[in-house]
Symmetry: C2
Subunit: 409 residues, 2 copies
């Protein structure tokens, strides 16, 4: 008998028939002898509908408290309906808002962080055999103001509950079968991974964020809560995400290929190679609330170097304007940029112990005559920036070269 926290996302609870399907899964888990605590999102596009009402008025930080009061109703509706469906099928059930549990958060409306979870109600329900159906995405602060955790917050609620209850597994039900080696829309032979480490999942964010919020992965990693991402529409086993140490099996060298076309790169040319220059460039970018992703600075030649970084594509024009000012102030030669780039990353914990991944990656791309514009590496990831028109070609070539379509041992 295992204690499972099951989280059902918006597409899985989009209508009453969807809720009937969810109830069948919960009942099957109970019949298999498991104890179940359920976390639900808002139905289908309900959060968008509510957010649109707020946008019609106009949102600013002063009204964030009210936005949370508004948005939190979406999940509350789902909890009540799912509890009713479960009861109809003879399964004792009980809905809970974040405040009723209670899930205590800080007071940072629209992006609150969970501080503490009281488990008394949930433990009482488990003892009685009642399925607790908990509203995801929400909590209350110390003054019982309603807070929300930000988009994807229901994943975080589920992981936090699993951690607090010491659950054996946190199951994230969604509309895809799990985490794939790469985007199946680009590579036909993309394969659903059986397992992944938390680190890999975080590095695969661009693949994984559609199915699992990064914050939830960090939370799960910290509290060592095994997460399983799986579909509520079929019976495939999904992808299990755990600590590397837990897996007890040889890791594949490469787990997946993530990519994004959402970025742009900017270069400051002819920068003096003196201490503090990087912060004089990035300080004003940060002050403008522009997030920076990759940063590359090569060794200096002739006391002068080039400094390149990437930003979200939507921030490109603003970043360019900021840099023109900065370049003048620091006496740089020129600013250039390109918003038609793509970033591609090979991810795998196996890289740690296997040399040659980078050279194989670069050779594969050279064989396809794809020029690499930037390179950045971490312990389990190699990222490159290329012209966006070569992106699909590069992904397919690398997927084949690293034999990702074949199931690992």
């Amino acid at each position: 008998m295992a204690l499972l926290v099951q989280k059902y996302g918006g597409t899985s609870v989009a209508s009453i028939p969807h809720l009937e399907n969810v109830a069948r899964r919960i009942l099957a888990s109970r019949e298999a002898g498991h104890q179940v605590v359920v976390v639900v999102s808002a139905m289908g596009h309900e959060t968008d509908r509510l957010d649109d009402l707020a946008q019609q008025i106009g949102v600013n930080p002063a009204t964030h408290r009210e936005v949370d009061v508004l948005l939190s109703t979406g999940e509350q509706v789902t909890t009540a309906l799912l509890a009713m469906v479960l009861m109809k099928h003879g399964c004792p059930a009980r809905s809970y808002t974040g405040g009723q549990i209670r899930i205590l958060t800080d007071s940072a409306y629209t992006k609150a962080r969970i501080l503490e979870i009281e488990c008394d109600n949930l433990r009482a329900d488990l003892t009685l055999g009642t399925v607790a159906v908990v509203a995801g995405f929400q909590g209350v602060d110390a003054d019982r103001n309603i807070t929300t955790l930000g988009r994807g917050g229901s994943d975080t609620t589920a992981v936090a509950l699993a951690a607090a209850l010491g659950a054996d597994e946190c199951q994230i039900y969604t509309d895809v079968n799990g985490v794939y080696t790469t985007d199946p829309r680009v590579v036909d032979s993309a394969r659903c991974l059986e397992r992944l480490t938390f680190e890999e999942m975080l590095e695969l964010a661009s693949l994984g964020s559609r199915v699992l919020h990064t914050r939830a992965v960090e939370f799960a990693s910290k509290y060592r809560v095994p997460i399983r991402v799986l579909s509520s529409f079929n019976d495939s086993p999904g992808t299990l995400i755990t600590n590397e140490d837990d897996s007890g099996m040889e890791q594949p060298i490469i787990s997946g290929i993530a990519f994004t076309q959402d970025e742009a790169k900017l270069t400051v040319l002819g920068v003096k190679d003196i201490p503090g220059i990087a912060s004089r460039i990035l300080g004003p970018i940060s002050d403008a609330n522009i997030e920076v992703d990759m940063i590359v600075q090569n060794v200096a030649a002739d006391n002068s170097t080039d400094f390149t970084f990437t930003v979200r594509r939507t921030d490109y024009q603003q970043a360019l304007a900021v840099l023109q000012d900065v370049a003048a102030q620091i006496g740089a030669r020129q600013v250039s940029g390109d918003n038609r780039i793509a970033k591609l990353s090979l991810v795998g914990v196996g890289m740690r112990s296997h040399a040659g991944v980078a050279s194989k990656m670069f050779k594969t791309m050279a064989d396809e005559s794809i020029n690499i514009q930037m390179i950045s590496t971490s312990e389990i990831k190699i990222s490159v920036v290329i012209d966006e028109k070569y992106l699909e070609l590069a992904v397919r070539a690398l997927h084949a070269a690293f034999d990702l379509a074949a199931a690992s041992a």
Copy 2:
């Protein structure tokens, strides 16, 4: 400076532009020097939409707790949006659920009764000049389970808050100008009443229930909270409802004519005139959860009498079936019924001191050759049952005979 509790119904808050209109009224009240606490209903047909979701699953008493969790979200959405609109116009505002106030109720889900209201938050807001926007229709029980007060419960919330805060007036904003002498769709010259007593309002339920819930009137009467029913769509003064003693003016003899076509009558003929016979007839009707309105039993002749009562028209067939059984058991001669009747009532506190109202009423109807099938009277009301095809004729004739179109002194 007055302290006002303003309640805005579903049609008054049906969209963001409607909420802008409501905000203008609230701001105008503040500019006039008043303090305002606001109670809101769910937007437009939101409660119906939520109820329909519940009905798709099927509702039974075991799921009433969840129905309340579901329905209460409707008002919560309105509170957040209205608070946002007020803030956009520079007016400090803050939304509250029933639980946040807190409005303590019993645990009778879907029809809870208010036990106590904590006013600390509201008083703090009044001191700060913040408009509290409170979700109507809902509360929490002692275990913080969400409860609802039943349809029309937002009126009750408003009156209860007004009583708890000692407000000067509870203003019920709706989509009609106030309470009319009779239904303006039937009588063109129907007039909006300037004032009414609580008693009259209760007796005029069939006219008034569209604008004000009976339970709210009872609550207001008990705690002597003056209620004003008025439109959120124009600036007419509406109808003020107070205790008779407060009015300090001569009462008109007749305030209004209420009517309903929603009833059916049933008669048990040839009933033995012995003690306990009425309960032997009405007991099984009550056991079948059929509500009885008028009951008439005339004096007996030959130790035998006829027993007549009215029920909701939708309960007619079931009541008839129950009565067939009862008649056989008690040895009654026959059961007859008619579901094409209408009930019409003259209401006015002035009746108490004026003789001749009944005779004038009956003469007016006789002049129109309208046969009266049943008569029932209370201290401030005379009700008759007639063939439904004469209803409009009777209402118009009585409205003219009692000169209701003319404004009272």
